[in-house]
């Protein structure tokens, strides 16, 4: 039974945490919410760091907390790891002794420390004092330290928020690689949808202490498009077709003999050469609509699509489209929508530049 289920109904100082959810403990589950939505508090409750809660937690069939029967497994006995926003390294220990701290206590043997050091790129720092490290290095130590304790579930609370943009992309690539290699399920909290779009398999959305959405990451993002709470976008995971270094482009397969072009990934140091699929998104603002196919254009991506839904939003219109069995979203001005007199079931053409397709490579610029 690989799942985490929790129920909390607790009044905190500024909000009421009221959640009841079961999450599969496989892959990475993203938790999205604006600040004050209760996402960090939820992680602390799962970890056992918040004691004044009413509710229940079960992880992989083992009960960790039950307020009714006053059953409480202490944080140190839960086999749950937590990577904090601010790393929280032990200042009196070296990098090596920091990362060995949890491993020693759980007496774990299945994870090889050298492998984890390699995965987290800490080899050259291992004997340094942690106070000498940069923000990104500190977080890598915190991640290595948490991994080596071999938790059944790893919680990450905005682990990249203190990092600069380039480090963010590198760290996401690193976390995705770590997850794939070590197969430790993760709950990843962030207020950045760009981060979560790249890293999550499933996405849970919180607002004001309540869970408003949960499901497949693309599906949840597309649902959020209509609420205008995020950058409206088309979120996709597509197989890589080929790299075209001469043109600085990579093509992804949208359908048989149909390709989406985006800036070249092959030479980028953060793209994993073994990746067969790429996670990407296109902002709804970047997709234009025309009635006729524009045959001769510098814009490389153009496809026929069918309008499935039209949603007016103030001066704009959000148009949902079906394009080769993928859902696309285009946001155009109300004026354009009226000029083109668009209707549901109309067949139209969408186009967007290669540079409008964002992947992990340009996460930092978003």
């Amino acid at each position: 039974m690989n799942e985490l289920s929790f129920t909390f109904n607790t009044l905190f100082d500024d909000f009421n945490l009221s959640v009841n959810q079961t999450i599969p403990t496989t892959g990475i589950t993203g938790i999205f919410g604006h600040s004050g939505s209760g996402k960090s508090t939820l992680l602390r409750c799962i970890a056992g760091l918040e004691k004044r809660t009413t509710g229940e937690i079960t992880l992989n069939g083992t009960n960790l907390y039950n307020a009714k029967s006053s059953y409480f497994v202490k944080p140190e006995k839960r086999r749950i790891g937590l990577v904090f926003q601010d790393a929280r390294l032990f200042p009196h220990l070296t990098v090596l002794n920091n990362i060995k701290y949890g491993q020693r206590r759980y007496k774990n043997t299945s994870l090889d420390i050298d492998e984890v050091i390699k995965l987290t790129q800490l080899k050259s720092l291992i004997h340094k004092n942690v106070t000498q490290l940069s923000g990104g290095e500190k977080q890598r130590v915190a991640i290595a330290r948490a991994l080596l304790a071999e938790p059944e579930l790893l919680l990450l609370d905005e682990p990249l928020s203190a990092l600069d943009n380039t480090s963010k992309s590198t760290m996401i690539a690193l976390l995705l690689n770590v997850q794939k290699q070590l197969n430790i399920p993760m709950l990843y909290v962030s207020h950045s949808m760009a981060e979560l779009q790249q890293i999550s398999d499933n996405l849970l959305v919180m607002n004001n202490g309540k869970i408003t959405h949960f499901g497949n990451v693309h599906h949840v993002i597309h649902t959020l498009n209509s609420s205008q709470s995020i950058t409206q976008q088309t979120s996709l995971t597509l197989p890589i077709h080929e790299h075209l270094p001469k043109y600085g482009l990579t093509s992804l397969q949208l359908a048989l003999n149909t390709y989406i072009y985006l800036p070249l990934l092959a030479n980028n140091n953060i793209a994993n050469e073994h990746d067969t699929h790429i996670r990407c998104f296109i902002a709804a603002n970047d997709i234009s609509i025309s009635r006729q196919e524009v045959a001769e254009s510098s814009i490389v991506n153009h496809f026929q699509a069918e309008i499935t839904h039209i949603q007016p939003q103030e001066n704009n219109v959000l148009i949902s489209l079906n394009c080769h069995e993928h859902t696309f979203y285009s946001s155009i001005s109300l004026w354009s929508a009226e000029r083109l007199s668009l209707n549901v079931n109309d067949l139209i053409y969408i186009q967007f530049k290669a540079s409008a397709v964002h992947s992990l490579a340009d996460l930092g610029k978003l």
Binding site: A47, G48, L49, K74, P75, E76, K77, I80, G81, L82, F84, D86, R88, L89, F90, P91, H92, Y101, G102, R105, Y106, N129, T131, R145, A146, A149
Partner: protein
């Protein structure tokens, strides 16, 4: 040069200060922890009680302890029933008195260090499988060790220097309750200024050396990772 009775007083003083410091570290650490983590409004009441010896004339504390230690009152009676000996005017009495008298000098630096350390790093330890005792010895203690050294040094030095309480509850029994400060007072009363000078100068130099050591430790810890003992540990009037 130094009289035999003064050497006995020196030995009594060091013995009293050492035992007192050990007791203070054992009871002061959990008390400091409790106060640092306490969120109740009664915290200020306990803090005020702990800090009382800083402002109270030692004779006030000594007077009440003398009454409590007498066989007519419960603490003194209990002591006598258990040990068969009178508590007042005994070595045990001056140790107990010193524990009360020097308590704030031990509790306050440690409490301040615990407060400065906060819960964040301790939570990190818990999430890595360390239980409360493990976290204390592998995280809290190594990071706050400078404060423990400060607390022990101040507790020791302050106990060596006490006079009023020892006089009230210990009397002046050589080899039992006669400490250096009382010997000094005796020499002055007898107009034996030469002997008084020797004792006064030794107390002055000894206390200076202990304090210099404390400040040296604080100075070195300023450049390391440990929680610092900034001067605010002690109220202003204690620093002068």
């Amino acid at each position: 040069m130094i009289e035999n009775s003064d050497l006995i007083a020196l030995f009594t003083t060091l013995k009293m200060a050492t035992i007192t410091t050990i007791i203070l570290m054992v009871i002061g650490t959990p008390l400091a922890w409790y106060l640092a983590k306490m969120k109740s409004r009664y915290k200020i009441v306990i803090e005020a009680i702990v800090a009382l010896p800083i402002v109270l004339p030692p004779t006030v504390l000594g007077f009440y302890l003398l009454i409590a230690f007498s066989p007519e009152h419960l603490p003194g009676k209990l002591w006598q029933d258990i040990t068969g000996q009178q508590l007042a005017f005994s070595f045990s009495a001056i140790v107990i008195g010193s524990v009360f008298y020097s308590l704030p000098f031990v509790v306050q630096p440690i409490q301040k260090a615990f407060e400065q350390l906060g819960d964040d790093i301790i939570e990190a330890g818990a999430m890595l499988g360390a239980n409360a005792l493990d976290r204390f010895f592998t995280i809290v203690l190594p990071i706050t060790k400078a404060s423990f050294i400060t607390a022990a040094s101040l507790g020791f030095a302050h106990t060596v220097g006490e006079f009023g309480i020892v006089l009230m509850i210990g009397g002046n029994i050589s080899g039992e309750t006669k400490v250096l400060s009382i010997s000094l007072f005796e020499h002055v009363e007898a107009f034996d200024y030469a002997k008084a000078h020797i004792l006064a100068a030794s107390l002055l130099v000894g206390s200076f050396l202990i304090l210099a050591l404390v400040y040296l430790l604080n100075y070195t810890s300023n450049t390391s990772h440990t929680v610092k003992n900034n001067q605010s540990v002690l109220p202003k009037d204690m620093r002068s």
